[in-house]
C-alpha cells in the first residue's frame, strides 16, 4: 500500500502507480470468441423477444446473438448499428440489468440472463476493429442541418441524417465530441479512448462536420441556426447542476460530481488527480455511484454515499449499488445534507439530517448526525439551463424545466427538433434513450425535408 493513502485533506498520488492501472481497467473485460459463442448459445431466440421490447432503441437482440453464434459477429454488429449507431458505447454503459437483461427469459427462469451487453460489445468491437462501415450515404439532398451538441443524441441524429444524404454541422461547446460518453461516464466503463474511437467511427460516414468550442448562446444562437439551416436539432444535454441547499456549500472541497468525473476522464495521469481522504457523495443516481467508486479507486480511505430516500428509491441500479459496495463504498439512506462543516474555509465534515416519508412526503426528522469529510461531491441531479435558448431571442416552449417536444421530437419552434436529456422524456436519462431520440428526430427531419422521405 502506498503511504499516500492516509494523507490528510485532498491530495494526489494516494496509490502506487500500478494500482491506478488495475483500478481503472475495464469493468467487464471483453468476451473472447469462445466465451461469446458459449454465451450466445444460451439465447433461446425468443419470439417477439422481451429483451428487444425493453431496449429503447429496439435492437433485434435475438437476431444479433444468433449471428454471433453462427460465427458472423460482423453481421451481428450491423443488426445492432441499424438500430443504434452508438451500440458500442451502449454495450458498455447501458444499465442492462434494468433493461434487456432484466426481462431476459433466462433471468426470469434461472436468475441468470444472457449477457446481452457483453455480447453486443463483442459484436460491435469486432466490426469496429475491422473498420467495417455498413452504411453508404444516399444521394445528396442539398439540405443542411445544424445539430447542437455532439453527445449521444446529437451523434445519432447526425449519423442518420448523413445516411439520408443531408449535410450536417454539429456544434459542440466542449473541445471534444461525445458528450457524457466522453465527459460523464466512469473511466472503467469506457477504457482506451473508446468514446473518441466511436465518434470517429460514426463520423467516418462523411457529411458530418463537427465544430468544437461552439456554445449555444455564446457563439451561436438557435435563431441564427434556424435561418441558416434547413433544420436544427438541439441535443445539448443538461448543463446545470442542482445545489445542495445546505449551509456552507461554498466551502473549498465541495464540488459537483459531474466536474470530478469529467476531470478524471480527461486526466492524463490519474496519480496527479487529487481526491479526499474522507469523501462524502450526496445523491442516489448513477453520477453519485460513479463519483463514489472512482474516489475510492483513486485511493480515498472512506467514501460514503448519502441519499435522502431509501435503497429502493435510488436511481442507481441494484448492480451499480452492489458494485459500489464491493469497492468499499458505504451507502447510507434517509439522510439529507443540512450544513457543510467549514474549518477555515475548507470542508471538515457534513451535518446530515435523518429523513422519513410522512404522508408520502419526505420530511426531516430533526435528528442529525455528522460525518467527517475533506471532500463533498454534489450529485443530486442535473438541470437544463435554458439561458442559451433565451439568448436566441425565440421562445421555445418548455415543460418541467426542459424543452417540450412532440412524439417526433419537434419543438414548438418551426424547423427545430430536440432530443436527449434536454427534453422531457418519459424514459430515464439514459445514453440509449438519447440515441433513440436523436435517431427518431433525424427520421422526422428527413420526412419533413423530403416530402415523406423522398428527396
Amino acid at each position: 500500500m502506498a503511504e499516500g493513502q492516509f494523507k490528510q485533506g485532498i491530495a494526489a498520488g494516494r496509490l502506487a502507480p500500478p494500482e491506478y492501472a488495475d483500478n481503472f481497467s475495464d469493468l467487464h473485460p471483453p468476451f473472447d470468441r469462445h466465451e461469446a459463442l458459449v454465451e450466445a448459445d444460451r439465447c433461446y431466440f425468443c419470439y417477439d423477444a422481451p429483451c428487444m421490447q425493453a431496449c429503447p432503441t429496439s435492437i433485434d437482440i435475438p437476431m444479433f446473438i444468433r449471428q454471433i453464434s453462427t460465427g458472423n459477429p460482423v453481421g451481428a454488429a450491423k443488426t445492432i448499428f441499424d438500430q443504434n449507431i452508438l451500440g458500442g458505447m451502449c454495450a458498455r454503459v447501458c444499465p442492462t440489468e434494468t433493461l434487456c437483461e432484466e426481462v431476459c427469459v433466462r433471468e426470469v427462469a434461472e436468475g441468470k440472463p444472457v449477457q446481452i451487453g457483453r455480447l453486443q460489445r463483442y459484436a460491435t468491437d469486432t466490426a469496429m476493429a475491422q473498420h467495417k462501415q455498413f452504411y453508404e450515404r444516399a444521394a445528396p439532398t442539398g439540405k443542411r442541418i445544424a445539430v447542437v451538441g455532439a453527445g449521444p443524441a446529437g451523434l445519432a441524429c447526425a449519423h442518420r441524417l448523413a445516411v439520408n444524404g443531408h449535410e450536417v454541422t454539429v456544434y459542440e461547446a466542449k473541445p471534444k465530441a461525445g458528450g457524457l460518453n466522453e465527459y460523464g461516464i466512469a473511466a472503467y466503463k469506457s477504457v482506451d479512448g473508446f468514446a473518441q474511437a466511436e465518434v470517429d467511427y460514426i463520423t467516418a460516414i462523411g457529411g458530418i462536420d463537427v465544430q468544437h468550442d461552439k456554445a449555444l448562446g455564446r457563439d451561436i444562437s438557435v435563431a441564427e441556426l434556424a435561418s441558416s439551416h434547413d433544420a436544427v436539432f438541439l441535443g445539448m444535454g443538461l448543463s446545470g447542476v442542482n445545489a445542495l441547499r445546505a449551509e456552507g456549500e461554498d466551502a473549498e472541497g465541495v464540488q459537483d460530481a459531474v466536474d470530478f468525473i469529467a476531470e478524471l476522464r480527461q486526466a492524463g495521469d490519474l496519480a496527479q488527480l487529487p481526491v479526499g481522504r474522507r469523501v462524502v457523495v450526496i445523491g442516489g443516481g448513477m453520477t453519485a455511484i460513479d463519483a463514489a467508486i472512482q474516489s475510492k479507486l483513486l485511493g480515498a480511505e472512506e467514501v460514503t454515499i448519502c441519499y435522502r430516500r431509501g435503497k429502493e428509491h435510488m436511481n442507481a441500479s441494484e448492480f451499480e449499488q452492489d458494485l459500489a459496495a464491493s469497492k468499499g463504498v458505504t451507502i447510507r439512506h434517509w439522510l439529507q445534507p443540512k450544513s457543510v462543516i467549514d474549518a477555515g474555509g475548507r470542508v471538515a465534515g457534513i451535518e446530515l439530517e435523518y429523513t422519513t416519508l410522512r404522508d408520502g412526503k419526505l420530511v426531516g426528522t430533526g435528528e442529525t448526525m455528522l460525518i467527517d469529510a475533506d471532500q463533498v461531491f454534489k450529485a443530486i441531479g442535473q438541470s437544463f439551463d435554458a439561458s442559451p435558448l433565451n439568448g436566441s431571442g425565440n421562445s421555445i416552449a418548455m415543460e418541467g424545466g426542459r424543452i417540450k417536444v412532440d412524439a417526433e421530437g419537434r419543438t414548438s419552434m418551426a424547423k427545430v427538433w430536440a432530443g436527449g436529456d434536454c427534453v422531457v422524456d418519459a424514459r430515464e436519462d439514459l445514453t440509449v434513450a438519447a440515441v433513440a431520440a436523436g435517431r427518431d428526430a433525424a427520421e422526422s427531419i428527413h420526412r419533413a425535408l423530403t416530402s415523406n422521405g423522398r428527396a
Partner: protein
C-alpha cells in the same frame, strides 16, 4: 468395450488418425468422423498382445474383431491363430465403410447379404469360437444382412458400425472435412448423433419375425447409462462403447455402470433380463398406430418462461395452435380447436416438463374435429382414407 483388447489382423501401410469432430457451442462432441486406416501393426504383434491381455484378465470376455479378404482360405488361415490366443469369440467386421471395402472387405461384404451368409458359414465351420457379425448401417434395410448372418449360423449380431458421412466443408479451401492434403472422403460417423439411427436398426432386428431372439450387441453413440438402458430395452443384450471412451477416457464407463445399477434398483429390475427387449413389443409399424388416440399439448403456466418458441414454431410451421397474446398480455396457451398433438412444441420448449401432451379420455370431445374420442383401437389398415383399405372392403 469395442476397442479394448481388440485385434485387427488386417495389415495396413500406415495408420492415420484423421478425425473430425462435430461440436456444439461449448465444444461438446456431437459426433466423430474417422477416415483412419485400421492398423499398421503386424498380425503377430496383435496376436501376441491379445494373448497377453487374455492371460492377464482371464475372467473377462475378449472378442477379437477380424477383417480379411473375402476368400475362404484367408479366413481359414486366421481363425486358428486367433483361437490360439485364448480369445472368447470373434466379431466379423462387415461394417468398416472405408479402406477395406475398396478391397472387398468390411462393408463391401456387409452390403451384400449373400457374402455375409457365406463368410459367417466359413467361420462357423472353421472355429469353435462364437461368431458375432458386425453390421453396417450403410444399407437400406438392416433386416436383410441380419437375416443372412443368421442363416449363415452367426451366434449374434452387433450394430451399428459407422455411417458414411462428411462432417463439414472448409469454406476457405472448399475441402471436405476431415481433410487430407486438400481432399476428403466419406468417413465413418459415430458418437451421440448416430444413436437414434442405431436404436431403430437394433429394434428392427429385435422385432423381425425371422431374426427375433438373435442376440444383439448394441453400438452407436452410447455415452450414458441411459443410452445403454435404451439400447437394451430395444433388444440389445449388451452394448459397446467406443466414442464416449475416446472423448472422456475409460472412466466414463464407471458412470454407466453405477447409473444403470441405480436405475435398476430404483425401478426394482432384478437383472438384465428384466429390461432387455422390454420396449421391443412397443415398436410397431406406422399403420398399426392407434388413430383413435388423441392428445393435446398443455402448457404449464407456472413453469412457462414466456420465450414464445412454442408459439412461433407452431405458428410458422405447424398448426397455429398456440397463442402469443391473450387479453393484451404475453401469454402462450394451446388452442385446443387447432392442436393436432404433433409434439413439436414439446420438442422446442427449453423448459423440461413445461409442455406435455395430454391424452383425451375416450368419450371426451376433440374440439379440433368436433368428434367424440372413440374408446376402441383403430388403425390405418381400416381407415376410410386408406385406398388399400377401401379396395379390401370392396
Amino acid at each position: 468395450m469395442e476397442d479394448a483388447g481388440r485385434g485387427r489382423p488386417a495389415r495396413r501401410q500406415r495408420q492415420r488418425a484423421a478425425l473430425r469432430r462435430d461440436l456444439g457451442a461449448d465444444r461438446r462432441l456431437l459426433g466423430l468422423n474417422n477416415i483412419e486406416l485400421i492398423t499398421d501393426r503386424d498380425l503377430q504383434t496383435n496376436l501376441r498382445e491379445i494373448k497377453q491381455v487374455k492371460r492377464d484378465w482371464p475372467d473377462r470376455a475378449l472378442i477379437v474383431s477380424i477383417m480379411v479378404p473375402c476368400v475362404e482360405e484367408a479366413w481359414k488361415a486366421i481363425l486358428p491363430l486367433v483361437e490360439d490366443t485364448g480369445a472368447d469369440g470373434i466379431e466379423l467386421n462387415f461394417g468398416c465403410p472405408h479402406g477395406m471395402s475398396e478391397r472387398g472387405m468390411g462393408s463391401a461384404v456387409g452390403q451384400v447379404p449373400e457374402y455375409i451368409e457365406m463368410v459367417v458359414r466359413w467361420c462357423k465351420q472353421n472355429t469353435r469360437m462364437p461368431v458375432i457379425t458386425k453390421l453396417t448401417p450403410n444399407i437400406t434395410d438392416i433386416r436383410k444382412p441380419a437375416r443372412a448372418a443368421l442363416t449363415g449360423g452367426t451366434d449374434a449380431v452387433s450394430l451399428i458400425n459407422t455411417i458414411n458421412s462428411i462432417t463439414g466443408v472448409d469454406l476457405d479451401s472448399f475441402a471436405p472435412q476431415p481433410t487430407i492434403d486438400g481432399k476428403g472422403s466419406h468417413g465413418g460417423y459415430c458418437g451421440p448423433a448416430v444413436k437414434p439411427i442405431a436404436m431403430n436398426m437394433v429394434a428392427e432386428i429385435a422385432r423381425d419375425s425371422e431374426t427375433r431372439g438373435l442376440p444383439i450387441s448394441g453400438i452407436g453413440g452410447i455415452t450414458t447409462w441411459r443410452d445403454a438402458a435404451e439400447f437394451m430395452a430395444l433388444g440389445a443384450g449388451n452394448v459397446q462403447v467406443c466414442t464416449a471412451a475416446m472423448t472422456y477416457g475409460f472412466k466414463i464407463v464407471e458412470e454407466m455402470i453405477e447409473g444403470l445399477k441405480n436405475w435398476m434398483d430404483e425401478k426394482g429390475h432384478a437383472d438384465l433380463d428384466a429390461i432387455v427387449g422390454r420396449a421391443t413389443p412397443n415398436v410397431t409399424d406406422w399403420q398399426y398406430l392407434n388413430l383413435n388416440y388423441v392428445a393435446k399439448a398443455r402448457i404449464d403456466q407456472d413453469a412457462c418462461i414466456k420465450c414464445g418458441r412454442c408459439h412461433i414454431a407452431c405458428e410458422d410451421t405447424s398448426h397455429q395452435a398456440i397463442t402469443s397474446m391473450v387479453d393484451g398480455a404475453r401469454h402462450f396457451e394451446v388452442i385446443e380447436e387447432e392442436c393436432v398433438g404433433c409434439n413439436l412444441c414439446v420438442n422446442v420448449c427449453p423448459v423440461e416438463g413445461c409442455i406435455t401432451l395430454e391424452p383425451l379420455a375416450a368419450g371426451s370431445l376433440d374440439k379440433r374435429t368436433g368428434k367424440v374420442v372413440e374408446p376402441v383401437y383403430a388403425n390405418w389398415t381400416t381407415h376410410p382414407n386408406n385406398p388399400m383399405a377401401r379396395q379390401a372392403a370392396e
